[in-house]
């Protein structure tokens, strides 16, 4: 539907810039977005670690106070990076806002009447979900490494995080999982009328994916670096396939017909 075939990055950046500014300004969105990672990647592991170090307290005793869903991954600290993926899953769910939010705020029609290419609009909305999710999870992981090293210092007397295997997990597989999740979320977001609906429906699809990813990482960590890297390739292949298909089926006409 367009004469231009190259991505207009100014347009993509403008779309991202507006949504990110809105997130920065909204405490209701920003606080959970930062606090959930902080809690899961820093505060809980730190308290578990310190409690374990003090000797007297058995971590499992502490964990009996923690809600069920959280206890399991926390209980294994600092053995696995699964929490990073859990956090990523949570951040990805926020991307349900992409198009559903525009419909809810009644700003979609104006957007469609602007000179933005269909594909650029899709890319903008995808990146608005991707960039902050991955950034927050990476920063969270960094903090987690520092926490893990500090709490383990009394027994290990050295910094043991991150290992190469962990780095591949976090830098290669985790963003791939995020891209798969976003491929789902953005497409769900196109079909429904408000953010809450998108997050519920999208979450129902993304959550099993995240759990699957979490389950597989245990096996990968045992399998070693190359299988882990290859698994990442598979995840990225799925992500690219999903998003290319999403972008192809995304047209102005379809969006306008849902106004």
């Amino acid at each position: 539907m367009s004469e231009r075939t190259r991505t207009d990055w100014t347009a993509v950046r403008s779309i991202m810039g507006r949504d990110l500014l809105a997130v920065r300004r909204s405490k209701a969105v920003l606080l959970p977005m930062l606090l959930v990672p902080l809690l899961m990647l820093v505060l809980l592991p730190a308290s578990v670690g310190f409690a374990a170090n003090r000797g007297g307290l058995d971590p499992s005793q502490f964990l009996s106070f923690v809600p069920n869903g959280l206890a399991e991954p926390i209980g294994r600290y600092p053995e696995h990076e699964q929490v990073v993926i859990l956090v990523l899953g949570y951040l990805v769910a926020l991307a349900g806002d992409a198009f559903a939010g525009e419909k809810e705020r009644k700003t979609l029609e104006t957007l469609l009447h602007l000179p933005i290419r269909d594909l650029d609009l899709y890319i903008g909305k995808l990146l608005v979900g991707f960039v902050p999710s991955v950034a927050v999870s990476w920063i969270g992981f960094l903090l987690f490494c520092i926490t893990a090293n500090l709490t383990a210092w009394p027994t290990m007397h050295r910094a043991f995080m991150p290992t190469l295997l962990w780095a591949v997990m976090i830098l290669w597989i985790a963003p791939g999982v995020a891209a798969v999740g976003l491929g789902v979320m953005v497409r769900v977001s196109i079909r429904v009328n408000n953010t809450q609906e998108a997050q519920q429906l999208g979450g129902a699809v993304v959550l099993p994916l995240v759990i699957l990813a979490v389950a597989q990482t245990t096996a990968l960590l045992l399998a070693g670096i190359w299988p882990t890297f290859l698994a990442g390739c598979v995840v990225w292949a799925i992500a690219i396939w999903l998003n290319v298909r999403g972008a192809r089926s995304f047209t102005r006409d379809r969006m306008a017909a849902r106004l």
Binding site: M1, S2, E3, R4, T10, A11, S14, I15, G17, R18, L21, A22, R25, S26, R105, K106, T107, L108, E109, T110, L112, H113, L114, P115, I116, R117, R252, D253, A256, A257
Partner: protein
């Protein structure tokens, strides 16, 4: 683009949705600098037409050229030169009035400072004092004015206005209509005005396309429409007393008289045209009724609209 060329030309434009036909073989055009009204009740197909012409919706069939471009192939190029005020103003409530303008300015390829400079348009729509206030608390009228400024941000050659006064109180309506009259049609800009308010169309439009249920029922200047549709010409006769039954009899047997009814002071006669009036007066005089006054009423826009509506309601 030559001066004689049309800004909008479309032929047999058709679009349906699963719910049914939204627009059925619409053929209209607009000349440079013209204000064209798309007039019709809710569901007539006005918004659909606007979306089709701006390349946002694709047609099932039909052709169009807008500003010399194919809206469905050169959509981006076209939308760079058009501005749109959507029915709900479509401002982002999370931002201020000025930020809403700046966002669109950036997407239209303006630099940060250029977009801020153009933000002065808010003063022209009398919203300068609220430029840095979040849109959230704005009234509908204020939103429409900010959205109008946003639609004019890049000085578009063609402006689409979708129900610019819907949901406004009379004072706000007046303010917005005046703004459209002064700002929108500036600089020889072409305007497409979708409305279900006849008064608005009559006040602002050079030509009107009257739509009902996706079909074009009339297209032309208000005078053209009157001439085309209003075959009944109303004449009020002041005879000093109600017309007698024999006189009514005599009047309806005249050629071109469709209907005659007695009133308190005389009669109302419907003829075909102005030229029938002398014969009506002569018949009264011949029947011995003194004629104190003759008041031939030119049909107004409202009469035309309701005539079209009545005609549209009757299946052909």
């Amino acid at each position: 683009m030559g001066a004689s060329e049309r800004v909008i030309e479309c032929e047999a434009l058709t679009r349906s949705f699963p719910s049914g036909m939204a627009l059925d073989a619409l053929t209209i055009d607009a000349a440079p600098g013209e204000v064209l009204a798309l007039l019709g009740p809710n569901g007539a197909g006005k918004t659909t037409t606007m979306r089709l012409l701006n390349g946002v919706l694709l047609p099932d069939s039909g052709t169009a050229r807008v500003l010399g471009l194919d809206p469905w192939r050169d959509g981006e190029a076209l939308r760079r030169r058009t501005g749109v005020l959507t029915e709900n103003a479509g401002l982002d409530e999370r931002f201020t009035a000025l930020e809403n303008l700046q966002f669109v300015g950036r997407l239209r390829g303006m630099s940060e400072s250029e977009a801020r400079t153009r933000g002065a348009l808010l003063e022209q729509v009398d919203m300068g004092h609220r430029a840095d206030v979040k849109v959230q608390g704005f009234s509908t009228g204020q939103r429409k004015r900010v959205a109008l400024a946003r639609a004019l941000l890049h000085d578009p050659e063609l402006l689409f206005l979708d129900e610019p006064t819907s949901g406004l109180d009379p004072a706000a309506t007046r303010a917005v209509v005046d703004l459209i009259g002064s700002l929108a049609a500036d600089h020889g800009r072409t305007v497409v005005l979708c409305t279900h308010f006849l008064g608005e169309a009559g006040k602002l439009a050079n030509r009107m396309a009257v739509l009902f249920q996706g079909r074009l029922h009339a297209f032309g200047t208000p005078d053209d429409l009157a001439a085309e549709l209003w075959s009944r010409f109303e004449v009020r006769l002041d005879l000093g007393a109600p017309a007698s039954p024999p006189l009514i009899e005599a009047l309806v047997t005249l050629p071109h008289v469709h209907e005659a009814t007695a009133t308190d002071r005389g009669a109302i006669v419907f003829t075909s045209e102005r030229d029938d009036v002398p014969a009506v007066v002569a018949a009264c005089v011949a029947a011995g009724s003194p004629v104190y006054g003759v008041d031939p009423r030119d049909p107004n826009l409202e009469d035309v609209y309701f005539a079209i509506e009545a005609r549209a309601a009757v299946p052909a």
